[in-house]
């Protein structure tokens, strides 16, 4: 008798949990759409910058800039890890942190000093738990990282790289390739390396108007060199911003998937519990019937 009631109680609590996970799934879906829109809006900017670089390269100008060249010294490296503030998003944080931890260890071996900067509560507690000092922590990048905030960060890195305080910048984040695919990756953002790799990826996406423009003579004001001087830091900033956006989108996808499977799991559990509950209840009824019949039999004699 107590058994049936206990089962019912459990079933009720699972129903409540299911309600919560279902709501979280819906919220994550809405946030994901929002984050996705932002990411695609950002790509409009990136594409245009890429086209600009292509046009610059077409003029025969040699693309060289201090940010593109690696430093001669290999002493200070900065590692930036992007995680989420909140949990309940499946393997999202685990994956990126595992990658970051491995990377952190190998960087410590090759470089003299590794400065660690972490965004997101989850990442901070992970490194603290392992007694690794976190030099800088950010909590304000939620699911909507603003360019202004990222730019502040980017400017600081650019300053540090220009003045020689850091020789390399590595970013660990979850790259978003599609809804079904997000990979934890490590990217070296400083030195920037090649600008040319971007050209091939998105340079041909322009419409016919810009295609005609590529052949005509373009006036550079004040000069192509001066524009290059500005293009390189800008493309760094945009790249960093893209990392943040990707991380935000991936987080929402991960949460969406995790909550979806949690809801499905709850459904399954409820079904199983209902079955056991019904069986227990039936058993109880049968027992009571038998008791009554036994009583009647006893009265007859």
């Amino acid at each position: 008798m107590a058994n049936a009631r206990a089962l019912d109680k459990r079933r009720k609590s699972i129903r409540n949990i299911r309600k919560i996970t279902r709501t979280m799934e819906l919220i994550a879906t809405a946030r994901f759409k929002h984050a996705m829109d932002r990411a695609s809006a950002a790509s409009a900017y990136t594409d245009r910058i890429t086209r600009l670089v292509t046009k610059l390269a077409n003029t025969g100008l040699e693309l060289s800039h201090p940010l593109l060249e690696p430093h001669e010294t290999n002493e200070n490296v900065l590692q930036l890890v992007l995680t989420s503030n909140r949990g309940l998003c499946g393997g999202y944080n685990g994956n990126v942190l595992r990658k970051a931890f491995e990377n952190n260890q190998s960087l410590k071996e090759t470089f003299g000093h590794c400065r660690l900067e972490v965004s997101g509560k989850r990442g901070i507690s992970f490194f603290e738990h392992r007694d690794i000092d976190v030099d800088e922590r950010f909590l304000h990048f939620e699911d909507k990282p603003s360019f202004e905030d990222v730019e502040l960060l980017a400017n600081r890195y650019l300053e540090a790289y220009a003045t020689g305080t850091i020789d390399r910048l590595e970013v660990c984040y979850t790259k978003f390739s599609s809804i079904a695919r997000q990979n934890a990756t490590v990217e070296t953002l400083l030195p920037l390396g090649e600008l040319a790799s971007e050209e091939t990826s998105g340079g041909d996406g322009g419409d016919s108007r810009s295609g005609a423009g590529a052949e005509t003579i373009i006036e550079f004001l004040p000069s192509a060199e001066s524009i290059l001087e500005e293009v390189v830091p800008t493309s760094f900033k945009v790249k960093l911003f893209k990392c943040f956006l990707d991380a935000a989108v991936s987080e929402q996808v991960a949460r969406m998937v995790a909550m979806k499977s949690a809801t499905e799991n709850a459904d399954e559990l409820i079904r199983e519990l209902s079955m056991t509950y019904n069986r227990a209840r039936q058993g109880q009824i049968t027992g009571e019937l038998l008791e009554v019949m036994g009583g009647v039999e006893a009265l007859k004699t």
Partner: protein, 148 residues
Amino acid sequence: MMAANHMEEGIDVTSGCRLVECIVVTPEETALQTPAQFVALPLFDGEIGIAPGRAPLIGRLGHGEMRIVEGKKTLRYYVDGGFVEVSDNLVTVLTNRAIKAEDLDPEALETGLEAARAKPANTGELMEIRDRAVAQSRGQLWVARRNR
């Protein structure tokens, strides 16, 4: 990316007036897309005016005021560096931030300029960084003051 429907060869079909298509893009959004008769932009070394039929151009922007003249209306924005690309009556402005002039607050900017001035400038790089911050604040302040 495409010109508005009523535009043909840079000419507004409805009024017969020569126009350029002006697109302002920031990393977060496409801030503005509008046909215009004239666009004034703060280049790195001075202001440039772009009228319809301008030869192709790529320019580096400074920190200052962008004016877009459309009919009797003039839209005023503060643009924070970036680039401008002109080709075939299409003006694309790529900038970090485009803030409407009305949204700037002169008092807050005043303190911002002071803070920028107070930055250390004992090495070449630091000086460059400071100059940039000062130019930004000055540009914003200048745009804000023209509101009155």
